[in-house]
Symmetry: C2
Subunit: 414 residues, 2 copies
Amino acid sequence: MNPSLVTDARVNAGRLMARLAAMAEIGVTPGGGVTRLALSDEDRDARDLLSAWMREAGLEVRFDDVGNLSGHRPGRRFAPPVLIGSHLDTVDKGGRFDGVLGVLAALEVVETLNDLGIATDLPIAVVNWTNEEGVRFEPAMTCAGYAAGRFTREEIYAKVDRTGHRFEDELRRIGYLGEIGNRPLPASAYLELHIEQGPVLEAEGLPVGVVGGIVGITWSEVTITGQADHAGPSPMHLRHDALTAAAHIIAGVERIAIEQDETAVATVGRLAIHPNVINTQPGQAIFSVDFRHQDPAVLERQYGRLEALVDRVCAERGVTGTVNRFWTSEPTPFDAGVLDAVREAVNSLSLPNRELWSGAGHDAKYVAERCPSAMIFVRSQGGLSHCETELSLAEDIEAGANVLLRATLSLAGS
Amino acid sequence: MNPSLVTDARVNAGRLMARLAAMAEIGVTPGGGVTRLALSDEDRDARDLLSAWMREAGLEVRFDDVGNLSGHRPGRRFAPPVLIGSHLDTVDKGGRFDGVLGVLAALEVVETLNDLGIATDLPIAVVNWTNEEGVRFEPAMTCAGYAAGRFTREEIYAKVDRTGHRFEDELRRIGYLGEIGNRPLPASAYLELHIEQGPVLEAEGLPVGVVGGIVGITWSEVTITGQADHAGPSPMHLRHDALTAAAHIIAGVERIAIEQDETAVATVGRLAIHPNVINTQPGQAIFSVDFRHQDPAVLERQYGRLEALVDRVCAERGVTGTVNRFWTSEPTPFDAGVLDAVREAVNSLSLPNRELWSGAGHDAKYVAERCPSAMIFVRSQGGLSHCETELSLAEDIEAGANVLLRATLSLAGS
């Protein structure tokens, strides 16, 4: 193999952009976005198109018993492949890049290797994980999770959407119920290119980011109980208003994150007050608190600060408060070796080398439990995702695909 | 007339408490409260019982074209009566005293005058206003408002409850659709005894209060628009979270009242956030702000402070805010002469003379537009009302009824 052929390799950005545009026609919305829910007719059409492209690229197409779809390119060695990809399903009125970028960039990596006549030591496989979004069949990332052993097939088959359709029936209906032997895992390594779904790269003027891992998350529910009362007759100093207490706690939750460090985030996303009528002081407020951080010790400390905050505010205001921590997802640091391959690729392309952690979940979270994994982020305009206006620029997509190409080559050996 | 007979007059508290207990059986709830919605079967039964008691007391019973029910005792002079009373309707799962106390205490005043053989210069009339609560047929105080000329008969007749029943049909059904000539107004003066529905008298250890007027109210709706975004990927400094902005404003609304004076109150009772899901920063928050004060200039100033607060918080946080002031009810100061009669009555009974304003609306608000009016409050345990545990003690009820008796005597002339 000609070394310069490998080290100078670059994807065909025009082909990749054309395929992104073609795929965006499947489930296109009036607002210019995409609705392609898992196992819908649109998902089937997208899979059919991807499969056709894979076969044109000489890949062997397989799908497993939950519909995870992969295309395989042999290596010089018989070994588990370097797996690259993401997902083709979208949320309702989602965008043209979330997920699909990672699948089609992976396919473009293979096309580029074909064009350049580059063979690799390890096989390379392109994967489309089923039902990443979890919008139609909750929760998210079920089928990467299944491949990693997190869910049983029975659990997944039994999931029912809002109109009563079972996962298994829909998977069979669209023609993608395959064999367990076609699972994409085991793999030698896993790499996923994805839009950032956040504003950091844009704010810092960077086309791509190296994803160090996926943050841990802890979810709590806070319940404040005061005394509902007329808005008129109670003077301020005799009130036990649950909402004003909640307001002070919500402001304090924000401080907990800000005072930690620049990567810590805290969100109150859900709030209900009772009785919720204009002329009554609320007697109860129930709200969620979402803390995220890459360090599990920080998550513990933040939760402790929340408990102390609730106790203090409630004591000051003569109301009672309880905090129920009901779910925690531990941080997932990515593999040092795979990250090194990504960093070298970034450097070889003379791109700025910025590492950040993903604040959202991705298929890579579960895959990382089974094989060395990492992710690459591409700048997303306005940090927007899960909306019709989701946009990544062609030059950023090209940069991200080239990073994926070179890191894949490095991992697969050429 | 024997002067000491008049100046020493006291109600028969046992009779009053027995009638309160008997009336509380009509619509009694498993929780020990009362559900007696306007124009329901229970309202009819309560009216029938009141009418029977009125007739036993020698009163001439009348009801007008919206069902306002009154019982008339002649005076030595032919003139508009001194009108005393309140309402028999309750909220859903309400209490045994809100409204009914004022009606039965008024009846007890007449019974006491009968027992003592006291005649008055002016006639005295006991009134039960229809649909004070406004729970079944919105808004509140419609039929005192009708008598005062605030609403037309057509408006009131056309009101429909949640199950599609019209006001007029229900009024006819229960047998209380009467003649317009039976309106309780005009009157020479109006006095209403009512539970406080607030905690001030209890907090200060006082059985009764002289009500100086009904506060003005201004209602606004605040809309905060930020950017909905995932709870994970956005660092705190790049967020435009509508709820954290709202939290700072809600805390500030409380300060606006506290910093004004001890009678000013401010309440955020209604709040909705969007999309209201655990893992998304809220992009929108809409909430109500209720300011109440006896001075209209203060209400204007508080509204101005709200606008400035919203502007400041929104500018600091990169979100936009609008304030829509959609309803204002001007303060209603009560009549100086009627208040003097109440104060003298309080003093004659050696009770503490505490004046406070009503933070809630009452029939007296509308009646005051047509004749000299005032109210007397009775201490309410825990300041609670509109709930099954609403409670005023017998000795406080007796004190309040005696104030009503003596002030009525003073206004009617004996």
